[in-house]
Every structure is written in structure tokens, then in C-alpha cells.
């Protein structure tokens, strides 16, 4: 059995760890709330844009879609995958769940005879894609807790420009969907070709288009895709903090359990030492009395 001094030292260090994880839990909880608010704040823009696209795409079926991102292109044997992960760890299985989904996606595409070019948002994903040699084309890391749309455009534009040139026939996105505080799910989304959202209102308004319907659509679609990526990034940030909060809560609980167990064995060791001492003294006394 370990000496009581060693146990005491371990108790102290486990307690310290518990304090740190508790602090991290609380920080993550408050950052998660802010991140959730940021996700909510993007909804009006995304909703309005979805309505607009729905409205416009319903009016341009067939030839009107040619050359836009609505057009379903023939298979070019090459697709792009955008992977959104957090920059940091200590968030349970969040990142590894995404990596598994990425791995599965790439294998599926290879079975279809396609190659996959990858683009990364977030350090964890960048490291994973670079380490496993997945044709990493561009990356954006350390975007912070509340990135601006401008900050994320670089990588998105790099991928989308190669759709315009006809290199990629499809663009996919894998990110961590924020379901609720306890559940974050890796989610695969097809970005290009854009699947036209249902036009909401049945209002058949006769719009004047300036400059023209096609031109507006071809400007709107890339913006729509960028907005989707932006939302995915914000959602990943919310996911990260909620996963970290849960992970840190579990760690705090484990630390507490461990302290309890260690305290028990410390008391046992202390008691054993006392018992031993008493028995030594009494046997010593008995030996003296015999002599």
C-alpha cells in the first residue's frame, strides 16, 4: 500500500485538476451561450436568402439554370470537401467523430471513382487532413469565437472558383451540427449543385430585375453557399463549446470520485499505520513485561 504521504500528494494534485476542469466547464458554458446567440443571429439573413433563391430558381427551370450553381453537372471525377472542425481539443469525441465521417465520405467517393480535394476550417481538421494526405488545398485556422463572414471567404472562394471553371462537379461540407447541448452530430451537406429551396409564399409577384434575373441568380448563389459555410462554422463553434462543457463536467465528476476514493485509502493507510504503531508499542511493552 502506498504511504499516506504519497496519497496525500495525489489527492492534492487531483483536486487541482478538478478545479481547473470546473473552471473550464464554466467558461465553455458561457462561450457556448454566446456562440448559440451568434448562430441565431445569422438566421434572418439565411432565411431571407433562402426565400430569394427559392423564388428565383422556381422561375428559371431548365435553360435558365445553365452555368449557375443550380445546374447539375456531368461527373468530372473530382469533388471538393470542406471540413469544419474546432481549433482545439479537450472536447470529448467531437473531432474524431468528424474525422470518421470524413474518412467514410472519402472512401465512398473513391468507390464511385472520384478523387476528393479537401479544404479545412479549423486546426484539428487541417492537421488530420494533412497527416492522412487528403489533397489539402486551402485552410483557415484560428478564426476565433465569433468570426466575421469576410474571414471565412478566402477558403470558400478558393473552392467555389474551381466549380466555376468546371473542375469540381460537386462540393460537400462536413461540420458538427449543433442539435442540443448534449448532442452534436457530424453532418454532411451537399453545397453544390445548390438544391433549390422551396419558395415559401405562394405570392406570384412580378419582380423587376435589375440588372437581370440570371445575373442576380449567379451573384446570389455563391453568396448563399458562403452563408451556408459561415453558418456551419458558427454551429461548429457552438458544438465545440457544448462538447467541451460536457467533457469538462465529466472530468470534474471523475476528479471528485477519485478524490473520494483516495481519501478513503488515505484514511485506511493512516489507520493501518496507527494500528501498526500501537501493536508495536504494546508488543514492545509485553516483551518488557515478560522480561
Amino acid at each position: 500500500m502506498a504511504s499516506s504521504r504519497e496519497i496525500k500528494r495525489r489527492i492534492r494534485s487531483v483536486k487541482n485538476v478538478g478545479q481547473i476542469t470546473r473552471a473550464m466547464e464554466m467558461v465553455a458554458a458561457s462561450k457556448m451561450r454566446r456562440a448559440q446567440r451568434n448562430v441565431m443571429a445569422t438566421r434572418p439573413y439565411a432565411d431571407s436568402m433562402r426565400n430569394l433563391i427559392g423564388e428565383l430558381s422556381n422561375r428559371s427551370i431548365g435553360m435558365g439554370r445553365k452555368g449557375t450553381m443550380l445546374e447539375v453537372k456531368p461527373d468530372t471525377g473530382k469533388v471538393a470537401l470542406i471540413v469544419v472542425t474546432p481549433d482545439r481539443g479537450l472536447a470529448g469525441s467531437l473531432s474524431s467523430n468528424i474525422f470518421r465521417r470524413v474518412g467514410r465520405f472519402i472512401i465512398e467517393q473513391q468507390q464511385l471513382g472520384r478523387t476528393v480535394d479537401t479544404y479545412a476550417y479549423g486546426k484539428k481538421g487541417r492537421d488530420f487532413l494533412a497527416r492522412t494526405g487528403q489533397n489539402l488545398q486551402a485552410e483557415a485556422i484560428k478564426l476565433g469565437d465569433a468570426p466575421k463572414l469576410e474571414q471565412i471567404l478566402g477558403v470558400a472562394t478558393a473552392a467555389l472558383s474551381r466549380v466555376q471553371t468546371g473542375e469540381y462537379c460537386e462540393v460537400y461540407l462536413i461540420y458538427s451540427e449543433f442539435v442540443n447541448t448534449l448532442v452534436q452530430r457530424p453532418n454532411l451537406k451537399k453545397l453544390v449543385p445548390v438544391e433549390a429551396p422551396e419558395s415559401s409564399g405562394g405570392s406570384r409577384l412580378d419582380f423587376t430585375y435589375e440588372p437581370s434575373q440570371e445575373e442576380i441568380l449567379s451573384e446570389l448563389l455563391p453568396r448563399y453557399v458562403e452563408t451556408q459555410i459561415y453558418q456551419a462554422i458558427l454551429e461548429s463553434i457552438a458544438s465545440f463549446y457544448s462538447a467541451q462543457m460536457v467533457a469538462m463536467r465529466n472530468a470534474t465528476k471523475s476528479a471528485k470520485d477519485l478524490v473520494r476514493d483516495l481519501t478513503l485509502s488515505f484514511n485506511k493507510a493512516r489507520q493501518a499505520a496507527i494500528t501498526k504503531e500501537v501493536s508495536e508499542i504494546s508488543s514492545g511493552a509485553a516483551a518488557l513485561a515478560d522480561g
Partner: protein, 141 residues
Amino acid sequence: MPIHLKIVTAEREVFADDVDMVSAPTREGRVGILPRHAPLLSILTSGELGIVKGGERTPFAVSGGFMQVLPTNIIILADTVERADEIDESRAETAVRLAEEQRASAKSEQDMALAEAKLRKEMVRLQVARIKEAGRRQGRS
């Protein structure tokens, strides 16, 4: 009869209120939208977005986006938008200078285009900030 205006950016909702008139810089030129305007969809370019309510004009600097005019409301999807009184004039001046330097030192065509766009946006911000200043001075005298 006022018209409801909503300005949103990808990050947040910036403005939502009933207004009397909106003057917007579209790619085809400046348009003024009064209530009961015909439905319109247009692309915005960088410039001053003026909102008139109760005879008072509030200038915003917008860098681009889309505008959807419906019978009872207007929705502006802006790339970036700032209220004139949120813009610090001296910092806007610095930003213009920086953008100019960036354009001067641009190496590739892509850098050049980026710097141009940035410069245009910063110039508009500065202009709009000055509109606000002028308005304030007039108000005082």
C-alpha cells in the same frame, strides 16, 4: 403609409423599422424607394444607403448586397453595413490610406482586384462619415 425596412447581414440583423423612403445604391444607379413601389430585385453596390423617416435622413455605408422590394416591405441583404455615426472619421481615413498602399503594392491581378474593392468600400465609409459630419454642422448653425 410607411414601408417596413429590414437590413440584415450574415452576422446579424442591423435595422428593422418602418420608414418613409429608402435611397439605395444599386449597380444600375441610385434608386429611391417610396411605399407602394413595384416589386423589385436588384444588386447593391458600395455606396451610401439613405433612410428617411419623419423628415430625417439616416445615412448608412453599405459595401454591396441585394435588395428585395415587396409591396409592404423591403429586405436588404448587405455584405457589410454600418451606420454613419458608428464610423470614426479619422480611422476611416487611415483605412483608405492603407487600402491605397495595398493597391500600390499589389502584385497579382487578384490582389489588385481585392485591394480595389477594399479601397472602394473604405472610400464610401469615409464619404458617409462626412455626410454625417456635415449634417451635424448644419444642424448646429
